[in-house]
Symmetry: D2
Subunit: 282 residues, 4 copies
Amino acid sequence: MKLTVLINCPDQSGIIRSVTTFIHKQKGNVVYLDQHVDKQAGVFFMRLQSEFENTVSLDHFKHDFEKEVAHGFNMEWDAYTDGHQPKMAVFVSKYNHCLYDLLSRYNSGELSVEIPFILSNHKDLEYVAEQFNIPYFHIPVTKENKAEAEDKQLDLLKKFDVDFIVLARYMQIVSPKVINVFPQRIINIHHSFLPAFAGAKPYHAAFNRGVKIIGATSHYVTEDLDAGPIIEQDVTTVSHTHSVKDFIAKGRDLERIVLSRAVQLHVARKTMVYNNKTVIFS
Amino acid sequence: MKLTVLINCPDQSGIIRSVTTFIHKQKGNVVYLDQHVDKQAGVFFMRLQSEFENTVSLDHFKHDFEKEVAHGFNMEWDAYTDGHQPKMAVFVSKYNHCLYDLLSRYNSGELSVEIPFILSNHKDLEYVAEQFNIPYFHIPVTKENKAEAEDKQLDLLKKFDVDFIVLARYMQIVSPKVINVFPQRIINIHHSFLPAFAGAKPYHAAFNRGVKIIGATSHYVTEDLDAGPIIEQDVTTVSHTHSVKDFIAKGRDLERIVLSRAVQLHVARKTMVYNNKTVIFS
Amino acid sequence: MKLTVLINCPDQSGIIRSVTTFIHKQKGNVVYLDQHVDKQAGVFFMRLQSEFENTVSLDHFKHDFEKEVAHGFNMEWDAYTDGHQPKMAVFVSKYNHCLYDLLSRYNSGELSVEIPFILSNHKDLEYVAEQFNIPYFHIPVTKENKAEAEDKQLDLLKKFDVDFIVLARYMQIVSPKVINVFPQRIINIHHSFLPAFAGAKPYHAAFNRGVKIIGATSHYVTEDLDAGPIIEQDVTTVSHTHSVKDFIAKGRDLERIVLSRAVQLHVARKTMVYNNKTVIFS
Amino acid sequence: MKLTVLINCPDQSGIIRSVTTFIHKQKGNVVYLDQHVDKQAGVFFMRLQSEFENTVSLDHFKHDFEKEVAHGFNMEWDAYTDGHQPKMAVFVSKYNHCLYDLLSRYNSGELSVEIPFILSNHKDLEYVAEQFNIPYFHIPVTKENKAEAEDKQLDLLKKFDVDFIVLARYMQIVSPKVINVFPQRIINIHHSFLPAFAGAKPYHAAFNRGVKIIGATSHYVTEDLDAGPIIEQDVTTVSHTHSVKDFIAKGRDLERIVLSRAVQLHVARKTMVYNNKTVIFS
């Protein structure tokens, strides 16, 4: 049996010793430990995996860990057993490349999640959902009905017990009403190397500025547009020979891969957020 | 004998045919041709190299080319023979990494220029100039004496017949007085992936934003700060484990290499500027 | 109407002039020209695109071009009109990631081909073909029946008038019988940075050698295993923290993208082969 | 006061707990911990940094750590205090780019070492040593005098109490006589992406194979030529437009940066060797 523990707390002496001693007492063996100290903020972060010969009750472990270790260090923490598959809702609009990428990884077993549904403000990608046999909900969003549409979204998210949302080129601004229910659990892909070219039409802006490299950025969604904690970024070279259309085509490959990596990191519980930045464990 | 011709003109039919026919008549052989059409702007760009069995007078060539070809197509153009070494002045402040990089390439014969002098607002790097036996001029710049200091700079640039200027982490804003004398002939290195983090302290800004990639950008200097035509960019990955100090250290390697590549492209006459963007020939 | 011409011939004076003059006479306008001279081999390569106001007969163009230009320069050449979609057969085995990538690009209109069928020595990926509504032929290959199986393959390739074949992790050695019918028209993806780790199990070999970077290579298939002309390569970093399983997972993303780029280049007729190497036009 | 401990030992339960408990007892605070388990080999690796409020005697620490912790776990280990500058000898031949890079970093304070001397089989780079005011020893090596020349090298290395050797394009095979005195303490830069193109003239071999990416590899020297544990690799793209000369020029920038990074990792004691592979701590 394998247990992963994620911790953050005020930096102080003795944390690693206390945690590893506790694991040892529970007859567990630490097989991986990655820690980080943000010295400016005075915060300690740790991700630890341990193996137990005998089955351990997760509830007992949590109860004892809180009492014997976490409380004293003022920790925010959580523990997970192997094999738990989070429920991931995918929001899309009209572009299919990120959706295809996620679904083919899902079908290959590369992506260890359940996908209860795909949701869109358009009907365009219903055929993709059908190809992969996943429910597709069409909830049109207009200026007038936005609040109402988001209520419908929240109903679905609740009904299907969704753990986190992936905006796979959703092209709509998600309002605080939804964000607050899924803090640090909505992953967006923005088609630029943020913070350059936030907002609409980043490839056009990059083309006009004459940059020699374009990028894509995946981040957790916060109320500030395109300003949430960055999970993953990647770039590719461009030149004067490329048109805006070429930028968009090259960018699609970046978007696919960057979003996919961010989702994988989130699912593997290798991300932690602090001060609008991420710690990405190895 | 080898001749390089750089051309830009309104896009129209028959340009390549006319130029190559002219070269043929002069008993030259085209050994390289790279062209580009900016369709939005309606502009044609070309870089062409030709070899001549017999020596050709550059003046005659230029006179005939203007009359028989360039005039009709309304070309802006220039022609260069091999082996001309442009005179490059280097402006520095207190950081030595870009200067060392340029000078060691210069000493190795990698960089085909003359360096008549190094100029600085500080005395700190005089010892580097001495190591490489290059004159070093110390012209302090303050708010009060800036205009006067730039006059002194211009005197030196004129006296030594300088072709172009490299700001190797010069850390001072160059005023239009100097820029206008060296249009598209002042190359700067900015320590960020522009347009992100223009202005001062880009590594600190990148750290605070929590980016996963940092960059460096070399561009021609225009009156708009850090907004001139981009010649070359490169990036490197960073993570939460890196401090601002680490960003700066990793960035130094980017700055070195990006500035050096931009200078090489300029010296090889592979750059052309249009609409605040560059065409970089292969 | 747009016409693309691909040429290679012994390097000699006057080629560009003659070709562009011919285009001009036909009332065409050269909109793109990329040329390359392999000085060691003494060979000239060119890719040229021209636009014609009036419709031109491709046959007439070809006839006249051969007579007036190509013959004199001893050219190997071909000309293509826009919009021709080549027929691409996909050979697979059990891995689905490259197949999914190609099919989702095909479905998105990113990949301008027809896919008459998918062929495999296993039944495993039939469901993917069904998802995308493409015929799937299952031709088992064993040591004993290989010659016979390849005859069946050739029958299908002929029947469906296939232009080129993509081996999307086919995992079988293709024999000269098939290669000779499709010279420089079979594209393979090898899961290493060739020439390192040719042959079987390259990720295991890379892991054992302790490399810090792994790669993938797409090449035209020749009789020498994994030794054909390289079309495209890409790499990604690895470290001691990665297991062979991690290498394979990271490698899948490389394989997808490298194969896809190679196929795109082939379809756009931007590749030319000479001396077991490729010229890749911009 | 800061202490860095490097450990490897058979993988077993309780290692982290025991080490951190020991540090805690010594009134130290763990500020960084990176560990790795090679599951195939059954080996545990750790790098740990701790801060002590009061000064600790390194000798006492080592004595107690061996007795109370290391002995029981059968550890190979070492401990280092801050600020120790290792003595680095640089061996060169005729190429100056790696030497210039190392010396300019050394002069900038980027590279925290002492350089007691530069050694060469040629006189060509004596002027560089003079520029940076470092002793230069010229020991010619021929087939006939190789054993004798290496004796002279060993005398110098001993006399100057050298900790490790950097082969900055030394172009000579170092024999076991020298390697055995500096096991895992001779760092070489090979101008290819190993294991591809080991041996002589790798850029020519890469050019002839028509690769689209070239690389450089820094590794510890072992008796097997170009087959020692890899510390660092990097790559850059090339195309058919590049000649062998271009490969060499682009490669120089790779060699500089890859060798410099490897040296930095070694000096920071972030490398550990096992089974002819490296663990590179973060």
